[in-house]
């Protein structure tokens, strides 16, 4: 056991002291986390006063109705989305459903965009809104239909947009009621704020991003760390020095794996503390399911590292191969952006990519995403990859320099 712990310790110390590996395993994930947070958490923030919003008017004017209040509200936002005569930037960039697009699909897509920080707010004017307003004018105190505004609570830009939308609706309302001579504060159009993260949870972009960045950190550590360390040690005949002692390959492997898992744990702690204290992340990992997916992720990426180490002839070749695999796997696994709507060829990569399943499993586990894949599949695909990589590595990985 002591040799396993010693190998693990040596692996950790080497990774922390060697600048290139330190960059990939710690500095790069931290840097990316900070940059993505700064970019996507503050879309449309102060100074710009330009917000991307979506509007769905589900109300259909009734023939012969004395007024179309739903249309008036919708027009107000359409007007705010047109350029001023001076050519200045409009307040809103407005998205509305395409002709024939189902309301439910539109709401689902745009809510997702709000949650991911790509859209500041989604306004939904419900069916029957106009009739409800007309009834209220005739009968004070009658029940009222509410306009729903979806916003991202942790996103400053989203909160600003929602505030402006609320003010605009209140302004329209006041004008209508004043003209009708019936304005009282109690009769104002109600606006319900709803969180795009769903389930009454306040999900920020940071909360969505944090599990993805942690997985990316594990991925980079496995993909680059394993072939880099093992092939370098083999080619430099460092491993050969071990094989003339009682140390065996399985024990070395156990120590090396333990060291890599400890590095993943360190990465996790650093990113979690950064997310929590610098960006206000509230997502929690201290439950069995997230812990399971974190361990499964670290093991899957370790297995990928061993796969690369077994097919690359030298450390340099291993690094090059890791780079080739890195980009498609990382960006087509849903770590940073949704992968829906990709061309078929890229979707195939998404389907076979274990990151797709691990990211969804982890995000569902911590409650920042509603799972779309069956839970057994999010476990089975990574486990299958681990098995395949282990099989190839056990047959092909050379532990000593070739003669």
């Amino acid at each position: 056991m002591k040799e396993i712990l010693s190998i693990a310790r040596a692996q950790i110390l080497t990774s922390l002291r060697e600048r290139v590996s330190l960059f990939w395993f710690l500095i790069f994930p931290v840097f990316l986390f900070i940059v993505l947070n700064l970019i996507f958490s503050n879309i449309g923030q102060e100074g710009q006063m330009h917000f991307s919003i979506a509007l769905l008017n589900e109300d259909t004017p009734v023939a012969g109705a004395p007024a179309d209040f739903s249309g008036i509200v919708a027009q107000a936002f359409e007007h705010a989305a047109t350029k001023s005569p001076e050519g200045g930037q409009p307040l809103f960039d407005l998205t509305q459903p395409e002709a024939g697009e189902a309301a439910k699909a539109f709401v689902a897509r745009e809510r997702d965009a709000v949650r991911l920080g790509r859209l500041s707010a989604l306004i939904v004017i419900p069916a029957g809104f106009n009739q409800s307003l007309l009834t209220r004018l005739a009968t004070p105190g009658a029940p009222r239909a509410a306009i729903t505004v979806y916003q991202n609570h942790g996103n400053t830009g989203s909160e600003m947009a929602a505030a402006i939308i609320g003010q605009m609706i209140a302004g329209i309302d006041r004008e209508i009621l004043t003209k009708a001579g019936k304005f009282t504060q109690d009769d104002a159009i109600p606006v319900v704020t709803s969180w795009a993260g769903g389930e009454q949870q306040e999900i920020s972009y940071t909360d969505f991003l944090l599990p993805g960045i942690i997985l990316m950190g594990f991925f980079v550590t496995g993909l680059f760390g394993v072939p880099g360390s093992i092939l370098f040690a083999r080619d430099q005949r460092i491993l050969r020095g071990y094989w003339v002692t009682p140390l065996t390959v399985p024990r070395y492997l156990a120590g090396f794996t333990l060291g890599q898992l400890a590095l993943c744990l360190l990465q996790f702690v650093v990113l979690l503390l950064l997310g929590r204290f610098a960006f206000g992340a509230s997502v929690g990992f201290a439950q069995p399911l997230p812990a399971f997916y974190l361990l499964l992720s670290a093991l899957t990426f370790l297995a990928f590292g061993f796969l690369i180490a077994s097919v690359a002839k030298t450390a340099d070749a291993g690094m090059a191969l890791a780079n080739v695999i890195n980009i498609p796997m990382m960006f087509l696994g849903g770590l940073f952006f949704p992968t829906s709507g990709l061309p078929l060829a890229l979707r195939v990569i998404v389907w076979i990519n274990p990151i797709t399943y691990l990211a969804e499993g982890l995000r569902s586990g911590v409650g920042v995403q509603t799972g779309t894949l069956p839970t057994p599949l999010t476990v089975a695909v990574p486990v299958a990859w681990i098995g395949a990589c282990a099989l190839v590595a056990s047959r092909r990985l050379r532990w000593d320099v070739a003669r």
């Binding site: 040799e3 110390l13 005949r237 020095g241 003339v244």
Partner: protein
């Protein structure tokens, strides 16, 4: 620890064979190594000495033959045997970002019983470098550490594969001193080297290998004595063809040409020297770097194979 006075063989190798395709790297060699002695495998590159060592160290499995070590007959080296042996590999390397102390501690953890890190560092005079990173050590210091690492388990049997190759004379002498101390302590040492003077200075028994076979063995003195009462004359004489050397060949046992270096073996020094001086005077050839000496292991190899060891 072994009994330094015992003459019983610590290791016996019988008909050891290792092939790489058509190449017979080790071709049925046999030898035995007495306890508390320095046993040296000597030979040019490709002679098979490193392959032999790698089999004995447990890095490679033999294709045939038998090894008897510490009284047990084995087809391959076992973990228990490794607990009692220490190995300095040719081109030994360590993780560059570990400290000297950490490297020694790491190797200590591989053995059931071992010396302390400080004992090892003291033995190889690296205590003041205990906290230095490996990458900051000089070549000589790295090699001393490699020797120290080979000794962490206080082994009975020590393999030293070309321990001084590439080192400066001072660093080489430091390693020799460590080897001499080990021998005094009663350790059994298996050494390979390119350096004749190293083999002569350190070895109790020398096996000369060529093309995977043992072509001669014995103590350095016994091997040199094979050349009888011969004396060696060496000089450099510019480019000469073989025919130009014929007048000398008529007055000596043999003449070898290796580039500009001419080596003359003779059993009767005075007539050979007279003939050599007359030859040089007639041709106007300067006998640069002329030396007259007793035969050494290099001459033994030359006389057995017609080639120099470092060719």
């Amino acid at each position: 620890m072994t009994n330094a006075t015992s003459t019983q063989a610590l290791m016996r190798v019988s008909d050891l064979v290792k092939h790489y395709g058509e190449v017979h790297a080790v071709d049925g060699i046999s030898f035995s190594i007495p306890r508390a002695s320095v046993f040296t495998l000597l030979g040019p590159n490709g002679a098979g000495k490193t392959t032999t060592l790698e089999i004995l160290e447990g890095i490679r499995d033999p294709d045939g033959g038998e090894i008897e070590v510490f009284g047990s007959r084995l087809r391959r080296v076992t973990r228990d045997v490794k607990e009692r042996m220490g190995v300095l590999l040719q081109d030994a390397n360590f993780e560059p970002y570990l400290r000297v102390r950490e490297v020694v501690g790491l190797f200590c953890s591989f053995f059931r019983s071992h010396l302390s890190v400080d004992e090892i560092l003291e033995r190889v005079a690296l205590k003041e470098k205990a906290n230095a990173y490996m990458k900051t050590l000089s070549g000589g210091q790295q090699q001393r550490l490699a020797v120290g690492v080979a000794l962490v388990n206080d082994p009975d049997l020590v393999f030293l594969d070309e321990p001084t190759t590439g080192l400066d004379p001072q660093a080489r002498r430091n390693i020799w001193s460590i080897v001499t101390d080990l021998k005094v302590e009663g350790k059994t040492i298996i050494l390979t080297t390119h350096y004749m003077e190293e083999a002569e200075a350190l070895s109790d028994h020398v096996c000369i290998m060529d093309h995977g076979r043992i072509i001669a063995e014995g103590s350095p003195r016994e091997l040199a004595a094979r050349l009888g009462r011969e004396t060696i004359i060496e000089f450099t004489a510019g480019d000469l063809d073989a025919a130009a050397l014929q007048p000398i060949a008529d007055h000596c046992k043999s003449v070898y040409q290796d580039g500009e270096l001419i080596t003359v073996e003779t059993e009767d020094l005075v007539p050979t020297m007279e003939a050599l001086l007359a030859w040089a005077k007639d041709r106007g050839t300067p006998l640069s770097n002329l030396i007259v000496r007793q035969p050494n292991l290099e001459d033994v190899f030359l006389s057995l194979t017609g080639r120099r060891l470092r060719e």
